[in-house]
């Protein structure tokens, strides 16, 4: 059915309006203008043709209206999608900038703390004494390193 409608959609809209008008006029004429000799002679064929034209005309008016409605919906949706894509790109820029700024601050703060250790902490007498007398036991280092690689243990168990 849709293929037939598609083929018929090549016929201009005004043609179906004419068919509808013909159908209405023909139907009215066959009922009202019975006294005219031509119409009274061919009343039945005129009635049949007019009713068919009326039905087809009304149907295609519906098709035209429906098509227009869908075309409007498509246009509206296309507009919304285009707007959403623009908004999406703008949001991406905002998110990206926020992450870059935060990461930069985190890195700088981390470096500041390490620099503070090198600059100030290692010079304090009690720290120097502690470093000299108490190196970190190997077991503690190994445990730290194991913890740092927990993700690898999880990957190995997959």
């Amino acid at each position: 059915m849709s293929q037939i409608i598609w083929i018929l959609s090549f016929i201009p809209d005004w043609f179906w309006t004419l068919v509808l008008i013909f159908g209405i006029l023909g139907t009215l004429a066959s009922w009202v203008l019975k006294f005219i000799p031509f119409i009274s002679t061919y009343r039945l064929p005129i009635q049949v043709a007019s009713i068919i034209a009326l039905v087809v005309g009304v149907y295609f008016q519906g098709v035209i209206a429906n098509e227009a409605k869908w075309q409007d919906k498509v246009a509206e949706l296309q507009q919304k999608v285009a707007e959403a894509e623009v908004k999406s790109k703008e949001t991406n820029i905002v998110v990206q900038e926020k992450i870059v700024t935060k990461t930069k601050v985190i890195k700088e703060k981390g470096k500041d703390i390490v620099n503070y250790i090198d600059r100030e902490v290692v010079k304090k007498e009690e720290i120097i004494k502690y470093i000299e007398q108490c190196p970190v036991p190997k077991e503690i280092i190994d445990l730290h390193n194991q913890a740092a690689e927990l993700n690898k243990a999880a990957e190995g168990k997959k």
Binding site: S2, I51, L54, V55, V58, Y59, G62, N66, W70, K73, V74, L77, Q78, K80, V81, E83, A84, E85, K87, S88, K89, T91, N92, I93, V95, Q96, K98, I99, V100, K102, T103, I106, K107, K109, G110, I113, V114, I117, V121, V122, I127, Y130, I131, C134, P135, V136, K138, I140, I141, H144, N145, A148, E149, N151
Partner: protein, 88 residues
């Protein structure tokens, strides 16, 4: 006339058609696609507590960087969801 009304009504029953528009999947910011770095290990057998502390600080930094990315993913998802819910 009864049949005519019936035929017209039947023919005018609306057709449902899918709208041929597909929104594209939103792009993800490049920074979110980068993987989180692996944590740093302490090198050597005899290590001073300050050296160990530096590695710990480095690892905290990596954690916070990665956490920022996760927050970014959540923000990205929420905002994109809001945007694409308007397309209906």
């Amino acid at each position: 006339m009864k049949y005519l009304a019936l035929i017209i009504t039947t023919l005018l029953v609306g057709c449902s058609t899918a709208v041929p528009i597909k929104p594209t999947f939103p792009e993800v910011p490049q920074v979110l696609k980068e993987k989180c770095e692996n944590l740093k290990k302490i090198e050597g057998d005899k290590v001073a507590i300050t050296e160990m502390l530096k590695v710990v600080i480095h690892n905290y930094t990596l954690y916070h960087e990665c956490s920022t990315k996760v927050d970014g993913w959540q923000e990205w998802y929420d905002s994109q969801k809001k945007i694409y819910e308007t397309v209906k």
